[in-house]
Amino acid sequence: MKLRKIFSWTGVALSAIMALNNTAQAEDKLKVGFVYVAPIGDHGYTFQHDVGKKAVEAEFGDKVETTYVENVPEGPDAERVIRQLAQGGYDLIFTTSFGFMNPTIKVAKKFPKVKFEHATGFKRAKNVSTYNIRFYEGRYVVGKMAGRMTKTNTIGYIASFPIPEVIRGINAAYLGAKSVNPDIKFKIVWVSTWFDPGKEADATKALRDQGADVIMQHTDSAAPIKIAEQEGVKAVGQASDMIAVGPNAQMTALVDNWAPYYIARTKAAMDGTWKSEDTWGGLASGMLTMAPYNKNLPAEVVAEAKATEEDIKSGKIHVFQGPLVKQDGTVVVKEGEMPDDGMLAGMNFYVQGLEASLPN
């Protein structure tokens, strides 16, 4: 094809120019790149990833060089951004949102020497690892607290999309609440967004109207906490400590702590010990931490939460240990048995007791 010829000639001419541009940048620094789905200023999910990036800089100093691209939409542009990093000589690239999964895999195929790390996905390759946090462990803890604190026996839950991650969270919170309060009821609102302060605020008000006096959220803005603060009810922070927005409302927050993972993987890439893995760390690994429990909570509720945290860390209890029963009565995990991660990763059912049905 003629066009192709023209392109390849321009390519030859231009790569000469490029060669001039990239003169002598040979250093033995490890170059680490991050791709963010939102602006760093979201003070939630992406903000926490950037905290992890800064921790890598602090740990390795001038042995690493880092960069990031923020606000990358999970659409057709993602592949180019990831590829530009790979082409720009980045050795280790973290793509931090689910929607980057297929683009990451595609780029990784073309750059076998570059190491890729994709957060929250399920596709791996020789040079693509996946990593995620066992958020559900924290949700179980706050579920217990919610079960104790509610006066109306009604918990409001703001959910984003019916993917396993979110369903796991709802189930975990329900199991936690139910374990201390058999009369507990969950009201769930699906907002079909990860971040939309307006919609999340509306959902919070709708849940309040249905009698919920503890609000939980699987969305990223601080709007639900703000409303909870105004209405004088309880809420749980998401991704980062949101105590500034809800000094009275926030009981605690599930804080994503990517720093230990990012440091460990950067170190592995430096030592040459990096290999493709699937990491799913929870409270025990330090990847998930609970923000300081609010001082206005009864001491026994805080004590119970802390004890639950310890039990999960030590492995004494597992959130989804048997008996685990679906809504329709099917037993998924038998009494005395432990669930396997495969089942958890693909969880697409509500546990028995939840009165809602999954949106389809």
Binding site: F7, S15, P39, G75, P76, R80, F98, N348
Partner: protein, 360 residues
């Protein structure tokens, strides 16, 4: 002293010169902006405007980005010339992507040369169908087509969301809202081996030629021009204004739909909820940047694509915020509109000491 004076006749030369003046002013202001931010302005400016054309891969990405912009803007320019304002190309793009993808998924894991043409046809029809709603309401009930077409963008987005959460969802995708990856027969042929530029760019070029022909040589082009510039004269000449509305919407809707199918079958290779990345809206800028002229639109599409890709490159290399790209596009549009004044007015320079003629 400077004085602005009305020209006897609009300057034809200025119609073509002003876009370049606007580009020059954007570069100068960008230069100052980077200097203020403490980044090397030479490097930043060259990254944004020249890096995108310095490698084969970047050029291919340029075409990936420019193709849908050119296709959609061509269609829109027809209507804009006739005074029919289709602002909802984004929605027609989305529906075109949905219908084209639905055909691709119906033929999943099948082979055949006929699959792609069928997808394109479905995409065009989908876009036309969505555009038919504002056209019908306008011609039947005299509703405002700007509002109706714009509002339908949101409806289209929700429809896409429903479909990828339901009927078009990948059965093996663990409930994540994405379709299957298209099989090879449903993917657009690529222009070069290493890169995502696809045959859609050639199709866009064909349509540039076609649009040029219609505008300059065909009766329809004349009718469009007369309707837009002198609606009553058009009436006396017996041109139906209703027909103009329908023709404008069908052409712009069809091309937007085709662009949507290309986007799904080209760079993305599946239907994802984040597929509509704003091409339909950016194309409005492209149409006016190109003075509603097909050749101008082609150049305008390439220029906007350069700022997108260059903006990303600059973000990575200099860790600039993602707003950089938006600021550049905003400046470009601003200067373009501002320099428009030169078409109808001239700037006269009077020497400081030369007395300005008093009175008439």
């Amino acid at each position: 002293m400077l004085k602005i004076e009305k020209r006897r006749e609009p300057s034809q030369a200025m119609v073509y010169i002003t876009p370049f003046i606007a580009i020059a002013l954007t570069i100068i202001c960008g230069f100052l902006l980077f200097a203020i931010m403490g980044k090397d302005p030479f490097r930043a400016t060259s990254l944004i405007f020249f890096e995108p054309v310095t490698s084969l891969y970047n050029i291919s990405e340029l075409l990936v980005k420019a193709s849908p912009l050119i296709l959609i803007a061509l269609g829109l320019s027809m209507g804009f010339r006739a005074g029919v304002w289709n602002i909802g190309a984004e929605g027609q793009f989305t529906i075109g992507a949905v219908t084209g993808s639905a055909v691709a998924l119906a033929f999943y894991e099948m082979e055949g040369f006929y699959i792609l043409p069928l997808m394109c046809l479905a995409g065009i029809l989908g876009g036309m169908l969505w555009a038919a709603i504002p056209a019908f309401l306008r011609t039947k009930f005299n509703t405002n087509e700007i509002l109706v077409s714009l509002m339908l963008v949101y409806v289209a987005n929700l429809l896409l969301s429903v479909l990828v959460h339901g009927p078009l969802r990948d059965p093996d995708g663990m409930n994540f809202p994405e379709s299957r990856l298209f099989s090879d027969s449903a993917l657009l042929p690529l222009l070069m081996e290493d890169g995502r530029a696809h045959i859609g760019f050639l199709v866009a070029l064909v349509f540039v030629g076609l649009a040029l022909f219609i505008q300059e040589r065909h009766m329809l082009g004349f009718q469009i021009k007369v309707t837009g510039q002198a609606a009553r004269a058009a009436q006396y000449a017996g041109f139906s204004s209703k027909k103009m509305v329908w023709v404008s919407f069908m052409i712009s809707g069809g091309l937007a739909g085709l662009a949507g199918t290309f986007e799904a079958a080209g760079p993305v290779g599946q239907l994802v909820p984040t597929l509509p990345a704003g091409y339909g809206f950016t194309a409005i800028i492209v149409a006016f940047l190109g003075r509603l002229n097909p050749i101008g639109i082609m150049l305008g599409g390439l220029l906007i694509a350069i700022t997108y890709i260059g903006g990303e490159t600059a973000q990575i290399a200099l860790t600039l915020p993602s707003a950089t790209t938006s600021v550049f596009q905003g400046m470009l549009l601003f200067f373009l509109l501002a320099t428009d004044i030169l078409i109808n007015y001239r700037i006269k320079w009077f020497g400081f000491f030369k007395p300005v003629a008093k009175g008439k």
